[in-house]
């Protein structure tokens, strides 16, 4: 075990992945010698060579097109999109190509060796274009897997799982926690399975569900609720696609209440899908309407970021409303 922040944990997962396969490549804007704008790929070009860890021209659609081709040839392709806000020029390559490669060819070809890493989320005074959480757009596309870690330990284990998984995966990294999340992380290889949620703390009155950086917020809200005598069960979804319906439904069956929180705008956010599924699965166990504490349906603001974000106080308020319904 070593103390690592999330960037070091990610770097460690990448290092292991590069040593594992002679064709594995890491590429994206500024990821080469510089090591990425957040330094997640620091030191890897020196270690594995310019031909396997390299800068690309500034073209997200090109990065993903290149990545699809590389992965189709059987090379682990680890592509970085510098900010999730800039993933949209690559939307066609991801949605029409990566996601459908295996299906459309009858498994003659696939891009299972593709992993896309991209920092997402707000709380860093990044305004409209350095703050977005675009996971729901991709959750609507069959063929992709989507994973979001909440801390350094989870980041390493989950990223290793994403790279080893034989499907295209988007790994959304909560950039607000890159340096803030520090904890014990094994230096050796380990895997945290994709598709399994984790019950982070047990409780009896209400289930709080989130992923990524929002976990910190709902855990904080759970502490505040505890002081008011409300027992919260806290779950980290970890994988958006496939998502662990069973673990969430089991918890909601027990507590009778569900609160979902994400930074992305509430309308058609992934919380909407969870709410629809859980009312189907747990209808007769529900004691109150499923609550969503999410971003407003606006572009991500700057000066009014504090008002916009679904903070612990908003979550606490919604917990109380749900329990008192």
């Amino acid at each position: 075990m070593a103390q690592m922040n999330m960037l070091q944990a990610i770097n460690s997962a990448l290092d292991i992945s590069m040593s594992e396969h002679p064709l594995a490549c890491i590429f994206g804007e500024d990821v080469g010698y510089f090591g990425g704008v957040f330094r997640a790929t620091s030191g890897l070009q020196e270690k594995y060579g310019k031909h396997r860890v390299f800068n690309t021209p500034l073209t997200e659609q090109g990065i993903l097109g290149f990545a699809n081709g590389l992965a189709a040839a059987g090379a682990p392709a680890i592509a970085e999109i510098q900010f999730a806000d800039y993933i949209f020029p690559a939307f066609d390559q991801i949605v029409n190509e990566s996601a459908k490669f295996r299906y459309r060819s009858g498994n003659e070809f696939n891009v299972g060796k593709l992993t896309i890493r991209t920092p997402y989320g707000g709380g860093i005074a990044g305004g409209l274009y350095h703050s977005q959480s675009p996971e729901a757009y991709f959750a609507h596309t069959p063929g992709l897997k989507l994973v979001v870690p909440r801390n350094a330990y989870q980041a390493k284990g989950l990223l290793r799982a994403c790279i080893k998984d034989d499907n295209p995966v988007i790994f959304f990294e909560p950039k607000r926690l890159y340096r803030a999340s520090i904890g014990d992380v094994p230096e050796d290889d380990f895997i945290i399975p994709i598709g399994k949620a984790e019950v982070v703390s047990e409780g009896s009155d209400i289930t709080l569900l989130a992923w990524g950086a929002q976990m910190e917020i709902i855990e904080q809200a759970a502490e505040m609720a505890k002081e008011e005598g409300i027992s919260c069960e806290v779950i980290d979804l970890r994988s958006i696609q496939p998502w662990d319906v069973e673990t969430v439904a089991k918890s909601v069956t027990k507590t009778g209440r569900l609160l979902i929180s994400h930074e992305a705008p509430v309308t058609c956010g992934f919380g909407a899908e969870i709410a629809a599924t859980i009312q189907q699965e747990c209808f007769l166990h529900l004691e109150s309407p499923i609550s969503r504490v999410c971003g407003l349906d606006t572009p991500y603001p700057l000066a009014l970021e504090k008002e916009y974000i679904p903070d612990a106080l908003k979550v606490l308020s919604a917990i109380k409303q749900s329990v008192q319904f």
Partner: protein, 404 residues
């Protein structure tokens, strides 16, 4: 860095524009209309067996296209696309490759796949979306693909294969790179050839793919089929520059333009391009100029956007021209060739009758291959669907009888 802006360092006092046509790009042509070598033409290194295979492939595709166009009109297949006029460009370029080089095509390149050995039955199974189709009946007719033949499955969105070809080619180069100095340590075994039309070259993926191939040095041949039309949009409404070739120079890519109706010239140009790529690990852009003699697809009618006069002045047939070359060489028995073509047309009709009777894929193929293994949600959806189909068998005759 001595040259941080990465530009040529000549300085001038002349306040002059560079004219867009400054390059005046030539078109390589080796055979005249009758298939005779033109003056000063240097014949490429081509053997009788290869030349005959190119010719037989072109004849096969012409016959297949005619028969399947008719089959579509009879309502037997939903859709078809002919290669009419471009058989030479596609077949001869594929012939200049090694059989295990990767081909990433757009959609009109069935001749390249045939050259690699795709059987008549395989073509039919794909077009009839039956359970023997390698693509499991999931894509519209002509979206072929074969791992065995190193021919990437066709994707309808235009141009997406261009940056993918760069990535694929890059993987072919990695084992030949010396990690110490980044230089090539040996000649590259295999390259990638990427086909696309002049219309697709307007997509952002074209720019991304060529620029990345040039900068990252990927051994890929970009083969632009400039056939004059993107569905109904003529080339002069598609771009204002000198064809597609002029752009190669801008990206820093070795470039050559060739008469696409001259199979021998296409063969020579692609052979040269491949040689350059395997030796240097770098890309080449080949622009083929051949008029699209047919419609875009069976859903299209060219009489709505181009004149009879235009069509009557653009009639170059790559097959006739190459036939002339073969006859001159004494490599072709014309009587035998005609007999074979007659027999082929019969075989195609027979193959249609067989393929259209083969069952459609099973219901499980709805959810297989979305992921490597179906995720729990999909398994649940499939079970629910099966129960529904079983409850209403008359409404779903394709699968109802086969659900266990």
């Amino acid at each position: 860095m001595t040259n941080p802006q990465n530009v040529s360092l000549n300085v001038t006092q002349a306040l002059e524009f560079i004219d867009p046509s400054a390059l005046d790009i030539p078109t390589v042509s080796l055979l005249d209309e009758n298939g005779h070598l033109v003056k000063d033409a240097v014949e490429p290194n081509i053997d009788k067996e290869t030349a005959l295979k190119i010719y037989k492939t072109m004849r096969f595709i012409r016959a297949l296209d005619e028969r399947m166009q008719a089959a579509q009109r009879q309502g037997r297949v939903s859709f078809y696309m002919q290669c009419l006029g471009e058989e030479g460009a596609v077949t001869a370029s594929a012939a200049a490759l090694k059989d295990d080089d990767m081909i990433m095509a757009q959609y009109r390149e069935q001749a390249a796949l045939r050259y690699r050995g795709f059987s008549l039955e395989q073509f039919m199974n794909q077009m009839f979306s039956n359970e023997k189709d390698l693509g499991k009946g999931r894509q519209m007719p002509i979206h072929y693909g074969s791992k065995e033949l190193h021919y990437m499955t066709i994707s309808s969105p235009l141009g997406t294969q261009i940056p993918q070809a760069t990535g694929y080619a890059y993987s072919q180069k990695i084992p030949h790179i010396n990690a110490e100095n980044g230089e090539l340590s040996s000649e590259i075994n295999n390259i990638t050839l990427c086909y696309f039309g002049e219309g697709a070259a307007s997509e952002g993926d074209f720019h991304a793919g060529l620029n990345m191939a040039a900068v990252l040095k990927a051994p890929v041949i970009f083969f632009a089929r400039n056939n004059g039309y993107a569905i109904s949009t003529p080339a002069d409404e598609q771009f204002a520059g000198d064809g597609i070739a002029s752009r190669g120079v801008g990206y820093g890519i070795k470039t050559i333009r060739v008469d696409g109706a001259d199979a021998l010239a296409v063969y020579a140009a692609t052979q040269k391009a491949r040689q350059f790529s395997v030796e240097t690990g770098e890309p080449v852009l080949v622009e083929s100029i051949a008029y699209r003699l047919g419609a875009h697809s069976t859903s299209d009618d060219p009489t709505g956007y181009r004149s009879k006069e235009e069509e009557s002045t653009n009639t170059k047939c790559p097959i006739q021209r190459f036939k002339g070359y073969l006859l001159t060489k004494g490599w072709l028995d014309e009587a035998e060739d005609n007999a074979q073509d007659e027999a082929l047309r019969e075989q195609i009709l027979d193959a249609v009758k067989v393929a259209e009777k083969v069952a459609k894929p099973p219901i499980e193929d709805l959810v297989s291959d979305v992921y490597d293994t179906p995720i729990p949600l999909l398994e649940k959806q499939l079970e629910a669907l099966k129960a529904h189909v079983k409850a209403h068998p008359d409404a779903y005759p394709t699968t109802a009888g086969r659900i266990k």
